[in-house]
């Protein structure tokens, strides 16, 4: 029982991170019908940016954890919002109208370049970097189940962020613009919406989300690594597709589902846990065979 609770807890934390990544993918697809595959590496870059921010803060003599945390979060989200917009401007918009495959590959390679840059130019970037524990680390145990305060805080923030995002999309003018563009570019233009601006803003928002996920990743594992982006990207993409591209709730569902599959894979096959990714990706293939346009299906629709 306590074990089960532990598994669920682990799965939920994992799922939250995947969901945050998947949200980015689904947002980008929504507005532009493209997959921005550098997204996973943007996450990593975000974590490293946060780390740099922390170093600066410490250098500037900031002692308290909270201001440090804020510096980290701001450094990460702002820089990545910028990077995201730049990527959108430099890699995605120019390829608008080119086959989807080109965008996929261009962003994948862009991500690779980003990854290599971290490895080569961030001091010691080729090895894992320690990420400071900036959250209170109190924890309670019942039997073999340990729940930690910092995890709960992250969980709360993450959920809050997601709710915030959906509010932005539902209530604000930006959200309206984004949804309009997602529905149909032409109509949006005729409604006098500045298409490019909306797209770039979307990329900024989505990338900021990824950066936040990166920071969360760092706080959760107390370690960041230049290479973690590719797999996280692929998983986030899988999650978004599983849920149904362009569908926010789908992205969430997909994220938690994938985490669930991985945990299940590790638990169901004790001592063969290395197969858990084989299991998870195998399930992805089967699920897509069963529901070809994702579990919830596309709301925004891939124009075939």
């Amino acid at each position: 029982m306590d074990l089960l609770a532990q598994y669920v807890m682990n799965g939920v934390m994992l799922g939250l991170m995947y969901a945050l990544v998947a949200l980015g993918f689904t947002l980008f697809f929504g507005v532009l019908n493209v997959i921005q595959f550098a997204h996973g590496d943007v996450l990593t870059a975000g974590a490293f940016a946060g780390l740099a921010g922390y170093a600066v803060a410490v250098h500037a003599g900031v002692e308290a954890a909270l201001p440090q945390l804020l510096t980290v979060a701001l450094a990460a989200t702002l820089s990545m919002a910028l990077l995201g917009a730049v990527l959108g401007r430099a890699l995605v918009l120019p390829l608008k109208g080119a086959p989807a495959l080109n965008v996929l590959l261009a962003t994948l390679m862009g991500g690779t370049a980003l990854r290599e840059c971290i490895r080569l130019f961030y001091p010691g970037g080729s090895q894992p970097q320690r990420f400071p524990a900036l959250l209170p680390s109190a924890s309670w145990s019942l039997g073999r189940f340990t729940v930690r305060l910092d995890n709960l805080l992250m969980l709360a923030t993450g959920v809050g962020l997601i709710l915030g995002l959906s509010l932005v999309l539902q209530r604000t003018r930006l959200g309206l613009a984004i949804r309009a563009v997602a529905q149909d570019e032409e109509t949006a233009r005729t409604m006098g919406i500045d298409f490019r601006r909306v797209v770039l803003l979307t990329f900024a928002v989505g990338s900021a989300l990824a950066a936040f996920a990166g920071v969360m990743n760092g706080l959760y594992y107390n370690e960041v690594n230049f290479g973690s982006g590719l797999l996280l990207g692929v998983i986030g993409f899988s999650a978004a597709v599983l849920g149904g591209l362009g569908n926010l709730s789908g992205a969430l569902l997909g994220g938690f589902l994938f985490a669930g599959l991985q945990t299940l894979g590790a638990v169901a096959m004790p001592f063969a846990s290395a197969y858990k990714d084989v299991f998870a990706f195998g399930m992805v293939i089967l699920l897509l065979a069963w529901r070809p346009t994702g579990l919830i299906g596309e709301r925004l629709g891939e124009r075939v």
């Binding site: 145990s141 594992y221 290479g227 590790a266 846990s273």
Partner: protein, 387 residues
């Protein structure tokens, strides 16, 4: 400057002579360094590269040296086919006399035939799989570092001596991790220890909570980790998250400053083992570390840097002795007995394996890797987990 056409080598030698005669400059001799410079294992690869480079720099600075050495650095990406490609490149280039080759065992395995076929004397600087030297009788392949067999034998003995009996093994599914799992399990069970469970994890895995939760349920005294620094750091950190407080024991792959940097206080008391005498204890070793620091390389030497340095130095000593000729170098390498180096005396057996490869036990104390014997843990001032 490869001899691409029949005429080219002639022209080149002429050129070299012309350069050599008036200035009286030394003849240039090339050594190859092969290791992973890109991808997941690049940190160790770069550490090795820098160390070999350092060896060459020092030698070139030495007026007594008969030759001017040039290091040809090649990236094997830790992939067999790329490895074979660059190995062929190095071996086919007759101006390259010998090679300091490979960190990744799988690549080292792939290239032995190439080196044999093209007769390039090589000294492995980091790959630990026994078969690399023992699966064949090629004269071209030597190795300064010990194999994972020696390492795990010592590891098992020492930990059993501490009174540990119940292990959970976590290893990455690369050749490195799987090999360590195999040999450690073998020696521990032989010594009366018990492996409660074994978990394979992929080398790019981020989250280990599922495995660790199961491990926790098995309630082991020690978690043995067979793998490299990156996931070593993650597993140790996540053990703490899940409140798994068992002793953490690693392999040569985690004996790196980054392991400690990556974990901070959490690294305290972690035990690991590495082939070779501890660099910092031998006079040559101290010298190496100082010189390395002087060069201001962007990466630390990592666990295997000293071996790359030793291998390169060994090759250059040999060339100084017998001259830049592959056959002679090969013959001379066969003779190496008790040759001292910064990793201890080197003696090659008939498979080219360095037999006296000492195994050193390390423990992290106050943010530093200390040799077990002179740590407060050995002295009993501090205690490993559960002791």
């Amino acid at each position: 400057m490869n001899p691409r056409v029949v005429a080219l080598p002639l022209r080149l030698t002429l050129l070299v002579l012309l350069l050599a005669l008036p200035a009286g400059a030394k003849e240039v001799v090339k050594l190859a360094f092969i290791g992973p410079l890109t991808g997941g294992n690049s940190a160790i690869g770069l550490g090795g590269r820098n160390s070999a480079d350092l060896a060459v720099k020092l030698r070139n600075a030495d007026p007594a040296a008969r030759y001017q050495y040039e290091l040809v650095v090649l990236d094997d990406e830790c992939k067999p086919d790329t490895g074979v490609q660059v190995a062929t490149k190095a071996a086919a280039d007759r101006s390259i006399i010998a090679g300091v080759t490979h960190y990744c065992s799988v690549v080292a395995m792939a290239t032995v035939d190439t080196f044999h076929r093209l007769a390039l004397p090589t000294v492995v600087w980091g790959a630990v799989l026994p078969d690399i030297t023992y699966s064949h009788s090629y004269k071209e392949i030597h190795r300064v570092n010990g194999t994972m067999v020696n390492q795990n034998e010592t590891a098992a003995r020492l930990m059993l001596k501490q009174g540990y009996r119940r292990w959970v093994v976590i290893h990455d599914t690369t050749d490195y991790g799987k090999g360590h799992n195999k040999y450690f399990t073998q020696f521990v069970t032989a010594g009366g220890g018990q492996i409660l469970g074994t978990f394979g994890v992929t080398a790019d895995q981020q989250d280990f909570t599922a495995e660790l939760t199961q491990a926790k349920a098995l309630n082991p005294e020690v978690i043995f980790f067979g793998g490299l620094t990156p996931i070593g750091v993650r597993i140790r950190a996540q053990m703490d998250k899940l409140g798994v407080n068992a002793q953490f024991q690693g392999t040569s792959g985690i004996v790196s400053d980054d392991f400690i940097k990556g974990l901070g206080p959490l690294a305290e008391g972690v035990v690991a083992f590495r082939e070779g005498a501890p660099a910092e204890k031998l006079p040559g070793g101290k010298f190496f570390l100082e010189k390395y620091a002087e060069q201001k390389y962007s990466n630390p030497p990592e666990a295997y840097g000293p071996f790359a340095f030793a291998a390169a130095s060994l090759l250059m000593d040999t060339i100084e002795k017998v001259g830049p000729d592959r056959k002679k170098v090969l013959a001379a390498l066969g003779e190496v007995k008790g040759k001292d180096s910064i990793v201890g005396a080197i003696t090659f057996d008939d498979h080219g394996q360095n037999t006296v490869a000492a195994i050193t036990a390390y423990v992290v104390q106050d943010g530093k890797w200390l040799v077990w014997e002179d740590s407060e843990y050995a002295a009993g001032k501090r205690r490993l987990k559960g002791r």
